[in-house]
Amino acid sequence: MKKLINSPDTVLDDALAGVAAAHPTLKVDLEARIITRAGGPSVGKVALISGGGSGHEPLHGGFVGPGMLHAACPGEVFTSPVPDQMLAAAQAADGGAGVVFVVKNYTGDVLNFEMAAELAGEDGIEVATVLVDDDVAVKDSTWTAGRRGTGATVFVEKIAGALAEQGADLASVAEIGRRVNAASRSFAVALSPCTTPAAGKPGFELAEDEMEVGVGIHGEPGRSREKLEPAAAIVARSLDAIFADQPLAAGEETIVMVNGLGGTPLIELYVAYADVAKYFAERGVRIVRNLVGNYITSLEMAGASFTVCKADEQMLALWDAPVNTPALRWGA
Protein backbone atom coordinates (compact mmCIF):
# COMPACT_ATOMS: atom_id res chain seq x y z
CA MET A 1 0.00 0.00 0.00
CA LYS A 2 1.52 3.29 -1.11
CA LYS A 3 -0.09 6.20 0.59
CA LEU A 4 0.95 9.67 1.62
CA ILE A 5 -0.16 9.14 5.21
CA ASN A 6 1.36 8.87 8.65
CA SER A 7 -0.57 5.83 9.86
CA PRO A 8 -3.77 4.11 8.79
CA ASP A 9 -5.27 4.89 12.19
CA THR A 10 -4.77 8.63 12.01
CA VAL A 11 -5.66 9.37 8.39
CA LEU A 12 -8.94 11.06 9.19
CA ASP A 13 -7.63 13.11 12.12
CA ASP A 14 -4.53 14.14 10.19
CA ALA A 15 -6.55 15.13 7.15
CA LEU A 16 -8.94 17.17 9.28
CA ALA A 17 -5.97 18.98 10.78
CA GLY A 18 -4.90 19.75 7.22
CA VAL A 19 -8.35 21.02 6.28
CA ALA A 20 -8.33 23.20 9.39
CA ALA A 21 -4.94 24.65 8.50
CA ALA A 22 -5.74 25.16 4.83
CA HIS A 23 -9.14 26.80 4.98
CA PRO A 24 -9.70 29.81 7.20
CA THR A 25 -13.29 29.90 5.92
CA LEU A 26 -13.95 26.60 7.67
CA LYS A 27 -14.05 25.67 11.32
CA VAL A 28 -12.91 22.15 12.05
CA ASP A 29 -13.80 20.59 15.37
CA LEU A 30 -11.17 17.88 15.62
CA GLU A 31 -12.78 16.42 18.74
CA ALA A 32 -16.32 16.18 17.40
CA ARG A 33 -15.03 15.51 13.87
CA ILE A 34 -17.19 18.03 12.15
CA ILE A 35 -16.46 20.75 9.63
CA THR A 36 -18.62 23.86 9.81
CA ARG A 37 -18.55 27.36 8.37
CA ALA A 38 -16.13 29.62 10.21
CA GLY A 39 -18.87 32.22 10.38
CA GLY A 40 -21.07 30.04 12.58
CA PRO A 41 -24.75 29.37 12.00
CA SER A 42 -26.82 31.63 9.75
CA VAL A 43 -29.52 32.91 12.03
CA GLY A 44 -32.97 32.25 10.66
CA LYS A 45 -31.73 30.15 7.80
CA VAL A 46 -32.01 26.43 7.21
CA ALA A 47 -28.68 24.63 7.58
CA LEU A 48 -27.71 21.88 5.15
CA ILE A 49 -25.67 19.11 6.76
CA SER A 50 -24.14 16.17 5.02
CA GLY A 51 -21.74 13.42 5.87
CA GLY A 52 -20.55 10.01 4.97
CA GLY A 53 -17.45 7.90 4.94
CA SER A 54 -14.19 9.67 4.13
CA GLY A 55 -12.18 8.91 1.00
CA HIS A 56 -14.61 10.73 -1.30
CA GLU A 57 -12.98 14.15 -1.03
CA PRO A 58 -13.76 16.93 -1.80
CA LEU A 59 -17.17 15.52 -0.75
CA HIS A 60 -18.38 16.60 1.81
CA GLY A 61 -16.01 18.94 3.67
CA GLY A 62 -14.99 20.65 0.43
CA PHE A 63 -18.58 21.77 -0.05
CA VAL A 64 -18.98 23.60 3.22
CA GLY A 65 -19.45 27.32 2.80
CA PRO A 66 -21.90 30.04 1.84
CA GLY A 67 -24.34 28.77 -0.76
CA MET A 68 -23.82 25.10 -0.03
CA LEU A 69 -23.36 23.06 3.16
CA HIS A 70 -23.35 24.42 6.69
CA ALA A 71 -21.61 21.37 8.07
CA ALA A 72 -20.02 18.10 7.08
CA CYS A 73 -19.53 14.96 9.15
CA PRO A 74 -16.68 12.82 7.84
CA GLY A 75 -16.66 9.19 8.96
CA GLU A 76 -13.70 6.85 8.90
CA VAL A 77 -12.58 5.99 5.39
CA PHE A 78 -15.54 4.36 3.61
CA THR A 79 -17.42 4.04 6.92
CA SER A 80 -20.42 6.21 7.64
CA PRO A 81 -20.00 8.71 10.47
CA VAL A 82 -21.64 8.20 13.86
CA PRO A 83 -24.77 9.92 15.20
CA ASP A 84 -22.73 11.99 17.66
CA GLN A 85 -21.12 13.77 14.73
CA MET A 86 -24.37 14.63 13.03
CA LEU A 87 -25.83 15.75 16.32
CA ALA A 88 -22.85 17.99 17.01
CA ALA A 89 -23.12 19.33 13.46
CA ALA A 90 -26.81 20.04 13.90
CA GLN A 91 -26.16 21.84 17.16
CA ALA A 92 -23.33 23.87 15.65
CA ALA A 93 -25.10 24.74 12.40
CA ASP A 94 -28.74 25.20 13.34
CA GLY A 95 -29.70 28.82 12.91
CA GLY A 96 -33.14 28.23 14.38
CA ALA A 97 -34.81 27.29 11.12
CA GLY A 98 -33.97 23.61 11.25
CA VAL A 99 -31.46 21.40 9.49
CA VAL A 100 -31.58 19.22 6.41
CA PHE A 101 -29.60 16.01 6.50
CA VAL A 102 -28.38 15.03 3.05
CA VAL A 103 -27.87 11.28 3.26
CA LYS A 104 -26.51 8.92 0.64
CA ASN A 105 -28.51 5.74 0.59
CA TYR A 106 -26.27 3.18 2.26
CA THR A 107 -27.50 1.15 5.22
CA GLY A 108 -24.83 2.57 7.50
CA ASP A 109 -25.42 6.18 6.55
CA VAL A 110 -29.17 5.84 6.76
CA LEU A 111 -29.14 4.20 10.19
CA ASN A 112 -26.68 6.63 11.72
CA PHE A 113 -28.42 9.70 10.35
CA GLU A 114 -31.74 8.27 11.52
CA MET A 115 -30.43 8.00 15.05
CA ALA A 116 -28.96 11.47 14.86
CA ALA A 117 -32.26 12.90 13.65
CA GLU A 118 -33.94 11.41 16.69
CA LEU A 119 -31.33 12.85 19.04
CA ALA A 120 -31.48 16.26 17.38
CA GLY A 121 -35.25 16.19 17.62
CA GLU A 122 -34.94 15.54 21.34
CA ASP A 123 -32.76 18.66 21.45
CA GLY A 124 -35.49 20.68 19.81
CA ILE A 125 -33.82 20.93 16.41
CA GLU A 126 -36.16 20.39 13.51
CA VAL A 127 -34.70 17.88 11.07
CA ALA A 128 -35.65 16.96 7.53
CA THR A 129 -33.81 14.29 5.60
CA VAL A 130 -33.07 14.10 1.88
CA LEU A 131 -32.08 10.63 0.81
CA VAL A 132 -29.89 10.51 -2.28
CA ASP A 133 -30.23 7.36 -4.39
CA ASP A 134 -29.21 8.12 -7.94
CA ASP A 135 -26.98 5.20 -8.92
CA VAL A 136 -28.81 3.25 -11.59
CA ALA A 137 -26.27 0.44 -11.56
CA VAL A 138 -28.18 -1.21 -8.74
CA LYS A 139 -31.89 -1.74 -8.98
CA ASP A 140 -34.13 -0.69 -6.17
CA SER A 141 -35.82 -3.98 -5.34
CA THR A 142 -36.64 -6.22 -2.40
CA TRP A 143 -33.30 -7.81 -3.16
CA THR A 144 -31.27 -4.71 -2.42
CA ALA A 145 -30.90 -2.01 0.19
CA GLY A 146 -32.20 0.32 -2.51
CA ARG A 147 -30.35 2.36 -5.07
CA ARG A 148 -27.01 3.73 -3.90
CA GLY A 149 -26.37 7.42 -3.50
CA THR A 150 -23.52 8.95 -5.48
CA GLY A 151 -22.91 11.95 -7.78
CA ALA A 152 -26.33 13.53 -7.34
CA THR A 153 -25.21 14.38 -3.81
CA VAL A 154 -23.14 17.22 -5.26
CA PHE A 155 -26.13 18.56 -7.17
CA VAL A 156 -28.44 18.26 -4.16
CA GLU A 157 -25.96 20.03 -1.91
CA LYS A 158 -25.39 22.86 -4.38
CA ILE A 159 -29.00 23.50 -5.29
CA ALA A 160 -30.64 22.96 -1.90
CA GLY A 161 -27.77 24.90 -0.33
CA ALA A 162 -28.51 27.86 -2.58
CA LEU A 163 -32.18 27.80 -1.63
CA ALA A 164 -31.30 27.63 2.06
CA GLU A 165 -28.99 30.60 1.56
CA GLN A 166 -31.94 32.55 0.16
CA GLY A 167 -33.85 31.98 3.37
CA ALA A 168 -36.37 29.36 2.28
CA ASP A 169 -37.99 27.26 4.99
CA LEU A 170 -37.12 23.73 5.99
CA ALA A 171 -39.82 22.04 3.95
CA SER A 172 -38.90 23.94 0.79
CA VAL A 173 -35.19 23.24 1.12
CA ALA A 174 -35.85 19.55 1.70
CA GLU A 175 -38.30 19.47 -1.17
CA ILE A 176 -35.92 20.94 -3.74
CA GLY A 177 -33.27 18.51 -2.53
CA ARG A 178 -35.63 15.60 -3.10
CA ARG A 179 -36.64 16.95 -6.50
CA VAL A 180 -33.00 17.25 -7.57
CA ASN A 181 -32.38 13.69 -6.43
CA ALA A 182 -35.47 12.45 -8.23
CA ALA A 183 -34.32 14.21 -11.41
CA SER A 184 -30.77 12.79 -11.24
CA ARG A 185 -29.21 9.51 -12.32
CA SER A 186 -25.61 8.30 -12.09
CA PHE A 187 -23.50 5.47 -13.39
CA ALA A 188 -19.81 4.71 -12.81
CA VAL A 189 -17.12 2.57 -14.38
CA ALA A 190 -13.90 1.62 -12.59
CA LEU A 191 -10.68 0.84 -14.41
CA SER A 192 -8.81 -0.01 -11.22
CA PRO A 193 -9.70 -0.69 -7.58
CA CYS A 194 -8.70 1.32 -4.53
CA THR A 195 -7.20 0.44 -1.18
CA THR A 196 -8.46 1.73 2.14
CA PRO A 197 -5.65 2.52 4.56
CA ALA A 198 -7.14 0.17 7.15
CA ALA A 199 -7.47 -2.79 4.79
CA GLY A 200 -4.07 -2.26 3.16
CA LYS A 201 -5.01 -4.10 0.01
CA PRO A 202 -7.36 -3.42 -2.91
CA GLY A 203 -11.07 -3.92 -2.27
CA PHE A 204 -11.34 -5.98 -5.44
CA GLU A 205 -9.12 -7.16 -8.24
CA LEU A 206 -9.34 -6.24 -11.90
CA ALA A 207 -7.25 -7.84 -14.60
CA GLU A 208 -5.11 -5.60 -16.83
CA ASP A 209 -7.80 -5.70 -19.55
CA GLU A 210 -10.91 -5.51 -17.35
CA MET A 211 -13.21 -2.84 -16.03
CA GLU A 212 -16.00 -2.93 -13.45
CA VAL A 213 -19.21 -1.59 -14.96
CA GLY A 214 -21.58 0.10 -12.54
CA VAL A 215 -19.12 0.22 -9.66
CA GLY A 216 -20.12 1.86 -6.37
CA ILE A 217 -18.17 4.63 -4.67
CA HIS A 218 -16.73 2.18 -2.15
CA GLY A 219 -15.78 -0.24 -4.85
CA GLU A 220 -19.07 -2.10 -4.51
CA PRO A 221 -19.48 -4.40 -7.49
CA GLY A 222 -21.59 -3.19 -10.34
CA ARG A 223 -23.59 -4.79 -13.09
CA SER A 224 -20.82 -6.73 -14.71
CA ARG A 225 -17.16 -7.02 -15.35
CA GLU A 226 -16.20 -6.39 -18.96
CA LYS A 227 -13.20 -6.12 -21.20
CA LEU A 228 -11.73 -2.62 -21.15
CA GLU A 229 -13.31 -0.39 -23.79
CA PRO A 230 -12.50 2.96 -25.41
CA ALA A 231 -13.84 6.05 -23.66
CA ALA A 232 -16.67 6.51 -26.15
CA ALA A 233 -17.98 3.01 -25.48
CA ILE A 234 -17.69 3.45 -21.70
CA VAL A 235 -19.57 6.73 -21.97
CA ALA A 236 -22.22 5.18 -24.20
CA ARG A 237 -22.91 2.26 -21.89
CA SER A 238 -23.05 4.55 -18.85
CA LEU A 239 -25.39 7.05 -20.50
CA ASP A 240 -27.48 4.24 -22.01
CA ALA A 241 -28.05 2.97 -18.48
CA ILE A 242 -28.96 6.46 -17.29
CA PHE A 243 -31.25 7.25 -20.22
CA ALA A 244 -32.93 3.84 -19.92
CA ASP A 245 -33.85 4.68 -16.36
CA GLN A 246 -34.87 8.26 -17.07
CA PRO A 247 -35.58 8.95 -20.73
CA LEU A 248 -34.72 12.47 -21.86
CA ALA A 249 -36.36 14.06 -24.87
CA ALA A 250 -34.76 16.36 -27.40
CA GLY A 251 -34.67 19.92 -26.15
CA GLU A 252 -34.68 19.01 -22.48
CA GLU A 253 -32.10 20.76 -20.29
CA THR A 254 -29.63 18.98 -18.07
CA ILE A 255 -26.76 19.50 -15.70
CA VAL A 256 -24.09 16.89 -16.33
CA MET A 257 -21.11 15.90 -14.23
CA VAL A 258 -18.18 13.84 -15.46
CA ASN A 259 -16.53 12.95 -12.20
CA GLY A 260 -13.14 11.37 -11.70
CA LEU A 261 -12.97 8.55 -9.18
CA GLY A 262 -9.65 9.81 -7.85
CA GLY A 263 -6.92 8.18 -9.90
CA THR A 264 -7.96 9.30 -13.36
CA PRO A 265 -6.10 12.26 -14.89
CA LEU A 266 -8.17 15.32 -15.76
CA ILE A 267 -7.14 15.02 -19.41
CA GLU A 268 -9.00 11.71 -19.55
CA LEU A 269 -12.10 13.22 -17.97
CA TYR A 270 -12.10 15.80 -20.77
CA VAL A 271 -11.77 13.02 -23.33
CA ALA A 272 -14.84 11.41 -21.74
CA TYR A 273 -16.68 14.72 -21.61
CA ALA A 274 -16.19 15.16 -25.35
CA ASP A 275 -17.91 11.80 -25.83
CA VAL A 276 -20.67 12.77 -23.41
CA ALA A 277 -21.29 16.01 -25.29
CA LYS A 278 -21.49 14.08 -28.56
CA TYR A 279 -23.91 11.56 -27.09
CA PHE A 280 -26.20 14.33 -25.90
CA ALA A 281 -25.90 16.28 -29.15
CA GLU A 282 -26.91 13.23 -31.15
CA ARG A 283 -30.11 13.04 -29.11
CA GLY A 284 -30.76 16.76 -29.07
CA VAL A 285 -30.69 16.76 -25.26
CA ARG A 286 -29.07 19.92 -23.96
CA ILE A 287 -26.30 20.16 -21.41
CA VAL A 288 -26.72 23.65 -20.01
CA ARG A 289 -24.34 23.35 -17.07
CA ASN A 290 -21.52 20.92 -16.39
CA LEU A 291 -18.81 19.87 -14.00
CA VAL A 292 -15.71 18.00 -15.14
CA GLY A 293 -13.30 17.01 -12.39
CA ASN A 294 -12.91 15.16 -9.11
CA TYR A 295 -15.95 15.90 -6.95
CA ILE A 296 -16.92 12.60 -5.36
CA THR A 297 -14.00 10.24 -5.43
CA SER A 298 -13.14 6.76 -4.26
CA LEU A 299 -9.61 7.27 -2.99
CA GLU A 300 -7.24 6.49 -5.87
CA MET A 301 -9.67 4.43 -7.93
CA ALA A 302 -9.28 4.95 -11.68
CA GLY A 303 -12.44 5.52 -13.66
CA ALA A 304 -15.27 7.98 -13.86
CA SER A 305 -18.87 8.45 -12.90
CA PHE A 306 -21.49 10.22 -14.95
CA THR A 307 -24.38 12.11 -13.39
CA VAL A 308 -27.26 13.64 -15.31
CA CYS A 309 -29.83 15.91 -13.71
CA LYS A 310 -32.90 16.91 -15.67
CA ALA A 311 -33.00 20.48 -14.51
CA ASP A 312 -35.90 22.90 -14.40
CA GLU A 313 -35.62 26.69 -14.31
CA GLN A 314 -35.55 26.92 -10.54
CA MET A 315 -32.77 24.36 -10.29
CA LEU A 316 -30.70 26.21 -12.88
CA ALA A 317 -31.17 29.54 -11.16
CA LEU A 318 -30.10 27.98 -7.87
CA TRP A 319 -27.18 26.29 -9.58
CA ASP A 320 -26.00 29.68 -10.80
CA ALA A 321 -26.36 31.29 -7.37
CA PRO A 322 -23.08 32.24 -5.69
CA VAL A 323 -21.20 29.52 -3.88
CA ASN A 324 -18.01 29.83 -1.90
CA THR A 325 -16.54 26.54 -0.76
CA PRO A 326 -13.07 25.03 -1.14
CA ALA A 327 -14.16 22.79 -4.02
CA LEU A 328 -16.95 24.72 -5.72
CA ARG A 329 -16.81 28.46 -6.04
CA TRP A 330 -18.36 31.05 -8.25
CA GLY A 331 -19.97 34.45 -7.96
CA ALA A 332 -18.06 35.03 -4.74
Partner: protein, 207 residues
Protein backbone atom coordinates in the same frame (compact mmCIF):
# COMPACT_ATOMS: atom_id res chain seq x y z
CA UNK B 1 -24.55 -13.40 34.98
CA UNK B 2 -23.27 -10.74 37.35
CA UNK B 3 -21.75 -7.36 36.71
CA UNK B 4 -18.22 -8.69 36.78
CA UNK B 5 -19.04 -11.42 34.28
CA UNK B 6 -20.77 -8.91 32.06
CA UNK B 7 -17.69 -6.71 32.04
CA UNK B 8 -15.55 -9.75 31.33
CA UNK B 9 -17.85 -10.72 28.47
CA UNK B 10 -17.51 -7.32 26.84
CA UNK B 11 -13.74 -7.29 27.37
CA UNK B 12 -13.53 -10.75 25.86
CA UNK B 13 -15.49 -9.58 22.85
CA UNK B 14 -12.90 -6.83 22.42
CA UNK B 15 -10.12 -9.42 22.56
CA UNK B 16 -11.96 -11.62 20.07
CA UNK B 17 -12.40 -8.71 17.68
CA UNK B 18 -8.69 -7.91 17.91
CA UNK B 19 -7.91 -11.50 17.13
CA UNK B 20 -10.40 -11.94 14.31
CA UNK B 21 -10.17 -8.48 12.81
CA UNK B 22 -8.45 -9.63 9.65
CA UNK B 23 -10.80 -12.53 9.13
CA UNK B 24 -13.88 -10.31 9.46
CA UNK B 25 -12.38 -7.74 7.14
CA UNK B 26 -11.57 -10.44 4.65
CA UNK B 27 -15.17 -11.68 4.71
CA UNK B 28 -16.35 -8.08 4.31
CA UNK B 29 -14.05 -7.48 1.40
CA UNK B 30 -15.62 -10.38 -0.47
CA UNK B 31 -19.16 -9.03 -0.26
CA UNK B 32 -18.84 -5.60 1.34
CA UNK B 33 -16.32 -2.83 1.76
CA UNK B 34 -13.61 -4.48 3.81
CA UNK B 35 -14.12 -2.62 7.05
CA UNK B 36 -16.17 -4.84 9.35
CA UNK B 37 -13.13 -6.10 11.28
CA UNK B 38 -11.74 -2.61 11.71
CA UNK B 39 -15.14 -1.29 12.67
CA UNK B 40 -15.70 -3.90 15.36
CA UNK B 41 -12.21 -3.58 16.71
CA UNK B 42 -12.43 0.21 16.88
CA UNK B 43 -15.81 -0.06 18.58
CA UNK B 44 -14.90 -2.56 21.26
CA UNK B 45 -11.57 -0.90 21.97
CA UNK B 46 -13.61 2.22 22.72
CA UNK B 47 -16.02 0.18 24.84
CA UNK B 48 -13.19 -1.20 26.98
CA UNK B 49 -11.94 2.35 27.50
CA UNK B 50 -15.43 3.58 28.34
CA UNK B 51 -15.96 0.82 30.91
CA UNK B 52 -12.68 1.61 32.57
CA UNK B 53 -13.52 3.27 35.86
CA UNK B 54 -17.24 3.08 35.13
CA UNK B 55 -19.32 2.00 38.13
CA UNK B 56 -22.45 0.25 36.87
CA UNK B 57 -25.42 -0.25 39.16
CA UNK B 58 -26.58 -3.32 37.29
CA UNK B 59 -25.75 -5.81 34.59
CA UNK B 60 -27.81 -3.79 32.17
CA UNK B 61 -25.75 -0.65 32.71
CA UNK B 62 -22.68 -2.39 31.35
CA UNK B 63 -24.54 -3.41 28.23
CA UNK B 64 -26.22 -0.05 27.74
CA UNK B 65 -22.85 1.66 28.02
CA UNK B 66 -21.46 -0.86 25.56
CA UNK B 67 -24.23 -0.15 23.09
CA UNK B 68 -24.02 3.61 23.47
CA UNK B 69 -20.29 3.53 22.92
CA UNK B 70 -20.65 1.35 19.83
CA UNK B 71 -23.15 3.79 18.39
CA UNK B 72 -20.74 6.67 19.09
CA UNK B 73 -17.64 5.02 17.74
CA UNK B 74 -18.33 2.47 15.04
CA UNK B 75 -20.39 4.03 12.31
CA UNK B 76 -21.35 2.02 9.26
CA UNK B 77 -24.20 -0.46 9.45
CA UNK B 78 -22.73 -2.45 12.30
CA UNK B 79 -22.42 0.51 14.68
CA UNK B 80 -26.10 1.38 15.07
CA UNK B 81 -27.17 -2.25 14.79
CA UNK B 82 -24.86 -3.73 17.41
CA UNK B 83 -25.21 -0.57 19.46
CA UNK B 84 -28.95 -0.99 19.49
CA UNK B 85 -28.61 -4.68 20.25
CA UNK B 86 -26.56 -4.07 23.39
CA UNK B 87 -28.57 -1.05 24.46
CA UNK B 88 -31.93 -2.76 24.05
CA UNK B 89 -30.64 -5.87 25.78
CA UNK B 90 -29.16 -3.89 28.63
CA UNK B 91 -32.28 -1.83 29.21
CA UNK B 92 -34.11 -4.99 30.26
CA UNK B 93 -31.56 -5.93 32.91
CA UNK B 94 -31.88 -3.63 35.90
CA UNK B 95 -30.53 -5.90 38.63
CA UNK B 96 -26.96 -6.71 39.70
CA UNK B 97 -27.37 -10.23 38.30
CA UNK B 98 -29.44 -11.76 35.54
CA UNK B 99 -30.54 -15.37 35.42
CA UNK B 100 -30.91 -17.41 32.25
CA UNK B 101 -34.54 -16.53 31.66
CA UNK B 102 -34.00 -12.83 32.26
CA UNK B 103 -31.04 -12.85 29.95
CA UNK B 104 -33.03 -14.71 27.29
CA UNK B 105 -35.81 -12.15 27.39
CA UNK B 106 -33.35 -9.28 27.32
CA UNK B 107 -31.46 -10.68 24.35
CA UNK B 108 -34.78 -11.09 22.54
CA UNK B 109 -35.44 -7.41 23.13
CA UNK B 110 -32.00 -6.72 21.68
CA UNK B 111 -32.79 -8.63 18.52
CA UNK B 112 -36.15 -6.88 18.26
CA UNK B 113 -34.28 -3.58 18.34
CA UNK B 114 -31.96 -4.72 15.58
CA UNK B 115 -34.84 -5.78 13.41
CA UNK B 116 -36.83 -2.65 14.07
CA UNK B 117 -33.88 -0.56 12.99
CA UNK B 118 -32.51 -2.61 10.11
CA UNK B 119 -35.71 -4.35 8.96
CA UNK B 120 -33.80 -7.54 8.22
CA UNK B 121 -35.50 -10.91 8.55
CA UNK B 122 -33.85 -14.31 8.77
CA UNK B 123 -32.59 -15.31 5.35
CA UNK B 124 -31.51 -11.80 4.35
CA UNK B 125 -27.85 -12.75 4.98
CA UNK B 126 -27.17 -10.45 7.91
CA UNK B 127 -26.27 -10.68 11.57
CA UNK B 128 -29.95 -11.53 12.13
CA UNK B 129 -29.20 -14.96 10.65
CA UNK B 130 -26.87 -15.67 13.55
CA UNK B 131 -28.78 -13.76 16.22
CA UNK B 132 -32.09 -15.52 15.58
CA UNK B 133 -30.96 -19.15 15.99
CA UNK B 134 -28.68 -18.13 18.86
CA UNK B 135 -31.52 -16.56 20.81
CA UNK B 136 -33.86 -19.41 19.97
CA UNK B 137 -31.32 -21.86 21.37
CA UNK B 138 -30.67 -19.69 24.41
CA UNK B 139 -34.38 -19.24 25.08
CA UNK B 140 -35.17 -22.92 24.64
CA UNK B 141 -32.40 -23.89 27.06
CA UNK B 142 -33.49 -21.28 29.59
CA UNK B 143 -37.10 -22.37 29.38
CA UNK B 144 -35.95 -25.96 29.85
CA UNK B 145 -34.33 -24.85 33.10
CA UNK B 146 -30.73 -25.07 31.92
CA UNK B 147 -28.22 -22.68 33.46
CA UNK B 148 -26.76 -19.68 31.67
CA UNK B 149 -23.52 -21.46 30.85
CA UNK B 150 -25.35 -24.24 29.03
CA UNK B 151 -27.72 -21.82 27.34
CA UNK B 152 -24.80 -19.69 26.18
CA UNK B 153 -22.93 -22.72 24.84
CA UNK B 154 -26.00 -23.76 22.84
CA UNK B 155 -26.46 -20.18 21.62
CA UNK B 156 -22.83 -20.03 20.50
CA UNK B 157 -23.16 -23.25 18.56
CA UNK B 158 -26.40 -22.07 16.97
CA UNK B 159 -24.85 -18.71 16.07
CA UNK B 160 -21.89 -20.44 14.48
CA UNK B 161 -24.19 -22.68 12.47
CA UNK B 162 -26.33 -19.68 11.60
CA UNK B 163 -23.28 -17.78 10.39
CA UNK B 164 -22.13 -20.73 8.28
CA UNK B 165 -25.63 -21.09 6.90
CA UNK B 166 -25.45 -17.59 5.45
CA UNK B 167 -22.95 -18.87 2.88
CA UNK B 168 -25.46 -20.05 0.26
CA UNK B 169 -27.83 -17.13 0.85
CA UNK B 170 -28.27 -14.16 -1.47
CA UNK B 171 -28.08 -10.90 0.47
CA UNK B 172 -31.18 -8.74 0.61
CA UNK B 173 -29.97 -6.13 3.06
CA UNK B 174 -26.86 -3.99 3.49
CA UNK B 175 -24.02 -3.48 1.11
CA UNK B 176 -23.80 -7.16 0.14
CA UNK B 177 -27.21 -6.90 -1.49
CA UNK B 178 -25.68 -4.88 -4.33
CA UNK B 179 -23.84 -8.02 -5.38
CA UNK B 180 -27.06 -9.74 -6.34
CA UNK B 181 -26.49 -13.43 -6.95
CA UNK B 182 -22.74 -12.84 -6.61
CA UNK B 183 -23.26 -12.53 -2.84
CA UNK B 184 -23.90 -16.26 -2.58
CA UNK B 185 -21.02 -18.51 -1.63
CA UNK B 186 -19.67 -16.10 0.99
CA UNK B 187 -20.20 -16.01 4.73
CA UNK B 188 -21.75 -12.82 6.08
CA UNK B 189 -19.26 -10.81 8.17
CA UNK B 190 -21.91 -9.49 10.59
CA UNK B 191 -23.27 -12.98 11.23
CA UNK B 192 -19.69 -14.07 11.84
CA UNK B 193 -19.02 -11.35 14.41
CA UNK B 194 -22.30 -12.30 16.10
CA UNK B 195 -21.05 -15.88 16.40
CA UNK B 196 -17.86 -14.54 18.02
CA UNK B 197 -19.94 -12.54 20.49
CA UNK B 198 -21.84 -15.63 21.60
CA UNK B 199 -18.75 -17.82 21.66
CA UNK B 200 -17.14 -15.39 24.11
CA UNK B 201 -20.33 -15.35 26.19
CA UNK B 202 -20.19 -19.13 26.44
CA UNK B 203 -16.53 -19.01 27.42
CA UNK B 204 -17.07 -16.34 30.05
CA UNK B 205 -19.98 -18.18 31.65
CA UNK B 206 -18.30 -21.60 31.49
CA UNK B 207 -18.00 -22.67 35.10
Amino acid sequence: MDIHQTRTWVRSIAAAMDQHKDHLTQLDSAIGDADHGVNMQRGFTAVVAALDGYEPAGVGDVLVKTGTTLISKVGGAAGPLYGTFFRATGKQLTGPVADAEQLAAALDAGLAGVQKLGAAVPGDKTMVDALTPALEAFGAAARAGEDEATAAEKAAEAAETGAKDTIPLQARKGRASYLGSRSTGHQDPGATSTALIFRTLAEVLKP
